[in-house]
Amino acid sequence: MPKTAVKPVTEQAIVQPLHSPAQLHFRTLRLDTPFQPRIDAAMKTNDWYDWGGYRAPASLWDEELEYFAIRSQAALFDISPMTKYRIEGPDAESFLNRLTLRDVTKLKTGRVHYTAWCDDEGFVLDDGTLFRLAPNRFRLCCQERHLPWLLDSAIGFDVTVTEETEVVAALALQGPTSFAILREAGFEGVERLKVFDLAEFAHEDGSVTISRTGFTGDLGYELFVETRLALSLWDRLWQAGELRGIRAIGYTALNRARLEAGLIVANADFVTAEHAIRADRVRMPDEIGLGFMVDLEKGHFNGRRAIAEARAKGRLRHVLVGLEIEGNIPAEHAIVYHRKKKEVGLVSAAIWSPMAKRNIALASLERPYGDSITDDLWVEIYAMRELKYERLMKRAKVVQRPFIKLDRRTASPPAEF
């Protein structure tokens, strides 16, 4: 049963259940996902973190090797804590077109696109993936929770918005052998999925939605299934993957892969509009590399007026760039300087990339730095060496994202490794 449904404003009644299950939230401060029994069994490091209120593995056995599982085998990552909304109804398309930046009329059934949405002032509320499951049915996946915003955005639209984070379990299967594993597991026709395609496949007495998407820049898939079928899906993949090197992984490994792929994370690489406390921390799409999504021609959407005005008046103050930094010491949260003197920005994520064999980073700079002025940039790295900081001033170069490009990600049909 949907938890919340939206009706046109005139028909809305105020319904307040006496006791909501959420009222007992304090008894379990971190929830388990439907895959927890399998993850607990695989957990050797006891290295947990909190992902949107869920107990999620930062690493399971060895973060280094988990990363290499993504790049040379197949990595299974539980993405159930990802926020998921089901958006359904005759006006679903126009609702989403008004909500998000990209043109949803161009998103065909069976396709997925990466998009973002803004508040009235044009500041990004979140980014996420939009799955068109049927002409009038979508799934929106993202980092933060947005139900009140989505419900208020639904006023005047014949559409139902349902929070389904808790009722849909999801897995990411990423890495060169991921396709082979799915085929081995008997998902017939999965070879036909091109990048950003999705399709339904039978599983037990139900079904699983498989999309050729992911957060690694690698060949990979995401699988969505009702929670009661979660464990059997895990087992099905696990068995099929035994000889293909399937490994369960945690977020630390995934985070490296996503950085190599040049992908940003809300509230890590930028502060979402509803989370920002300080007035200057909010960002417009153009300021975090999402300007390409903005479609001023498609008709009205939230933030359109503000974005168009900011563009016209040259009011975009920041820019998000990829940096290549000399040396091999990750510049995490380092300050970026121009001519070693003027502070012009901050690194939000950085690693030594094993694939690119480069020291890479994402950074937010204040324009014109990173935009028209890209020379003579430096980062200041404080490397702790046995209770003493080694202060390093390293040259940084603005480079294209993604930092790595793997042909196998897009190859169609996908290769079997």
Binding site: V9, D120, S153, I155, G156, H300
Partner: protein, 518 residues
């Protein structure tokens, strides 16, 4: 087919004022009115054979700039004499406020009269400070033009001119309730009841509700015949005022179409492009001016897909559930209110025996019930203008509070009971009046909503309380008459400063449009 520079939706007095002002600037303007007659809640209509009345019956805030800009006197606006207010009482003789809001009193003790003069002067002084703010476009925080800054500064200056003690008191009292203020100065329940009534008229507040004094300031910021606080029963009824504005509009070249309800405002890529009528007909123009309710404008006519979610939230949250009902009685002959002289009968008669009484009348409204002992403001317009009733007969027009829009039992069941409650009150103050009634028309807020297309039946097209005033009226983002939809402007009572027959929102909006070259 003629093409228009601007389309005004709604032929209420504000729509007409905006249209006339725009036309005078050289624009071709079309007014589209849903009803068969223009005038909105100020239009005079026949409610029984030979008997005519309008929801709005007292003129107390028609702005002199509107009169001047539209040359209303040249277009036949006949301002009658200033009307007194009579506070009726059952145990006492009535108390009368003569001149402009009680320049002198009769029926009060000497000490009370002296206390009143002091309070009256103070109230008018303080209302006078707010007056420029309630006349101009509200300031945009952080984005004030030089003009606006200076208007703001002027308010500061007039504050300074008050002197230290007065300034302190102005600030102290600003958000007080009317009841406490009256108690500080007065003893007479009749007088305090009248103030309580005037402060809360047309809003969902009782006299003891915080900020209720603002309502009285709003009332006293209005003027008639250059006299602050004065009121009149316009000759020819409120309809005559509308007729003068209409003539001014027509003289300026405005085209007017009645029976033309607008179904949609056409928006293309964030810009208003014209309107579509209920009939399907589309009319395009560079500028669309909405003289109707802001909620209807954005949520029904523009539609949520053309505006941002945050703005939709704010518009949806505007409170506009009216509490004022309107009673029209067709009487065989003029009624006689006990102890009231002939001049009093031509004035405004108020049944609000005490501040407590008004508060008690408000209490049930909080819970969706009408007042069993309602308070009311009564006029007998046909005494001043015999054309409003057949020979020898009389029209009684009364605004009655509190009649909550969303009556729990529903107005179908509630209306006869509420009418009986009103008639019982009237009978106490004008014995025998019941027998004179040839026809009674009671318009509940639900009726007003349907007939005049006023959502919630609300006097001001949105509660006029501190949180819905100035730069928050009707909501942030549309407070300066221009709106998030380029080329679409608001100009009705839902906009700053608010409702009442003033013409100010209409005039200000037109000036804003001219300033923005819309």
């Amino acid at each position: 087919m003629t093409s228009f520079d601007a389309i005004v939706i709604g032929g209420g007095h504000n729509g007409l004022t905006a249209a006339a002002t725009l036309a005078k600037s050289g624009r071709k303007v079309l007014v589209l009115e849903a009803a068969s007659e223009i005038g909105g809640a100020a239009r005079t209509e026949e409610f029984a054979p030979g008997f005519r009345a309008a929801p709005a019956h007292l003129l107390n805030r028609l702005h002199p700039e509107v009169v001047k800009t539209l040359e209303l006197e040249r277009h036949g606006l006949a301002l009658g004499p200033i009307a007194p207010s009579v506070a009726l009482s059952r145990d006492d003789k009535p108390l009368t406020l003569h001149g402009a809001y009680g320049e002198s009193l009769s029926g009060a003790s000497a000490s009370e009269a002296a206390a009143w003069q002091e309070l009256r002067a103070q109230l008018l002084r303080y209302a006078g400070i707010l007056k420029p703010l309630l006349a101009r476009r509200p300031p945009e925080l952080g984005n004030m033009s030089l003009m606006e800054t200076s208007a703001f500064a002027m308010t500061g200056l007039s504050l300074r001119r008050l002197g230290k003690e007065d300034m302190r008191d102005f600030l102290r009292m600003l958000l007080m309730n009317v009841s406490d203020v009256a108690d500080e100065h007065l003893d007479d329940d009749r007088l305090k009841g009248l103030l309580a009534f005037d402060a809360t008229l047309g809003s969902h507040l009782g006299p003891r509700s915080p900020t209720s004094l603002l309502g009285l300031y709003y009332r006293l910021a209005g003027e008639f015949g250059r006299q602050p606080g004065a009121q009149a029963l316009p000759a020819g009824g409120m309809g005559a005022v509308v007729a003068a504005i209409l003539r001014a509009a027509k003289a300026a070249g405005v085209s007017i179409r009645a029976d033309a309800p607008v179904a949609r405002i056409l928006a293309e890529k964030g810009r208003a492009a014209g309107v579509a009528l209920d009939s399907g007909e589309e009319i395009r123009a560079r500028t669309v001016v909405s003289a109707i309710n802001p909620h209807s404008t954005f949520l029904d006519l523009v539609g949520t897909r053309e505006i941002d979610t945050g703005f939709v939230r704010r518009i949806k949250n505007i409170r506009m559930k009216g509490d004022a009902a309107k009673l029209h009685l067709a009487l065989d002959r003029p009624p006689e209110f006990s102890g009231v002289d002939a001049a009093g009968h031509r004035g405004r008669l108020v049944i609000a025996p005490s501040s407590d009484h008004v508060e008690r009348a408000f209490n049930p409204a909080k819970y969706g019930e009408f007042s069993p002992e309602p308070v009311m403001e009564i006029t007998l317009p046909s005494l001043s203008d015999p054309t409003l009733a057949p020979d020898g007969a009389c029209v009684l027009s009364a605004v009655v509070q509190y009649a909550p829009y969303a009556l729990k039992e529903g107005w179908e069941a509630g209306k006869p009971k509420f009418l009986a409650a009103i008639m019982a009150r009237l009978e106490l103050y004008a014995p025998g009046i019941g027998r004179l009634v040839r026809h009674a028309e009671l318009l509940t807020p639900a009726d007003l909503e349907a007939r005049y297309r006023m959502p919630g039946g609300h006097w001001h097209h949105g509660e006029l309380q501190a949180d819905q005033m100035m730069m928050s009226r009707p909501a942030f983002g549309a407070a300066g008459y221009d709106t998030p939809v380029e080329g679409l402007f608001l100009c009705g009572a839902g906009s700053h400063p608010g409702g009442g027959v003033s013409g100010v929102p209409g005039l200000n909006a037109a000036r804003r449009i001219i300033e923005m070259r819309g």
